[in-house]
Assembly symmetry: C2
């Protein structure tokens, strides 16, 4: 039976982190809201608590038969062993999950650069606060997160072609998507990225060239970044670091 | 061998979510930074990437022998089966983890009510933005998260004495801590809480009365909420909902 992915249509958003894993593995999945006319109604029903006593709080979520798994990191932890994307060494799985959760936090902070006060308000209603938050995100948070990931990647005892163990995991795919998103949103801030974080940059390009990923990126299934998603390019928020 | 918990001293913060699980289970653990003179140096060393190629991004983290597990939800997922706090039914573990990750998001939003612009700035430097964010958090986010948890608790096919399955899990303990923190930070906003969310309120009181938890709460190991932590009581941020 196919995996069913539920996510908002029209944006890559958090759903994209799950799509990349499914696509890399060549898994059989249905992107329900995009593929079916009744998809949005089905998603809203589950979000409203109908049809399951164990429904999710928010998209994305994955349905595998009767089981509903929500939150990107949880979905990837669940899928990892099934898709061959978990570390081969079991003791590394909690380390990989910790990295994935660090990416989750980073992505939430990237989102909050354009919505620092409330998701109930428009960006235009919190633009001054967004400028202040983005300034700090660029000056302190991007370097803090990226230096950490660069160090972990460089220090992998199994080599720096992947961040955990001796083969590609979902963490590499999620780093790829995050680097792509940040470059889209903050091209000025990331101008020197490849020089400062050479191993991460090399990983990003290696992921892009993987057979299944390259095919996916060239397909219509890949949704371009846009100003309704997490990574938004607002020129007024982008600036050189410090 | 004892579990070693690493966290900032002086605040309950995110570390408290791990402590509650260890205390409920009567587990053998060392709260390293509080218990040892060399604890802070040991934590900083690991945060600086020394002593392990698989170090954490931020506290709290748990050391179990050579394995380092970071992020509250990951630590609790790891400890759950060892402490008897995971759902008995294995298929419920990913559901429980999803709930725990929803709590993680909720806690991050509670934190950002007093630091909406940057953790690099003092609260006093972002107080107007904090008022705006707190207003929205109280009006929209607390009800959204709490209604969800109340619904899931009320709908548990195994009974509403615990939120997942037929026995206490780490999710119940984390809900307790979150409700306690919110009541500390926002007493006006939560004035009608027990009437609006009766099952959650009953769960909170049931957790408080558990033998090991009651003993822990009365001990010096329990750190009171304060204005350096996640849940801070700033009267100017607290208000009646809408």
């Amino acid at each position: 039976m196919s995996y069913e992915l539920y996510y908002w249509p029209g944006i890559p958003g958090r759903g994209e982190y799950v799509r990349l894993a499914l696509e890399e593995a060549g898994a059989d999945y249905v992107d329900v809201v995009r593929a079916k006319k009744t998809g949005m109604a089905a998603m809203m029903k589950l979000l409203d608590g109908k049809g399951s006593s164990r429904g999710p709080f928010a998209p994305p979520f994955l349905k595998d038969g009767d089981l509903i798994v929500s939150h990107v990191a949880n979905i990837l932890f669940y899928l990892g062993p099934k898709l061959g994307l978990a570390p081969r060494n079991e003791s590394l799985r909690f380390f990989a999950h910790g990295l994935q959760l660090t990416i989750t936090d980073f992505v939430a902070e990237a989102h909050d650069t354009h919505h620092p006060i409330s998701t109930e308000l428009y960006y235009e209603d919190q633009i001054e606060e967004a400028k202040a938050r983005a300034k700090n995100f660029i000056a302190y948070r991007i370097p803090k997160f990226m230096s950490y990931f660069e160090r972990i990647l460089a220090g992998n005892p199994e080599g720096d072609k992947q961040i955990v163990g001796d083969r590609l995991t979902d963490v590499d795919l999620s780093l790829f998507q995050t680097m792509e998103g940040l470059r889209y949103a903050f091209p000025r801030a990331l101008k020197k990225f490849d020089g400062e974080y050479p191993k991460l940059a090399a990983l990003r390009e290696a992921v892009r060239q993987r057979t299944n990923i390259a095919r996916y990126l060239a397909s219509e299934r890949r949704i371009p970044f846009n100003e309704s998603g997490i990574f938004r390019h607002y020129p007024e928020l982008d600036r050189a670091p410090r």
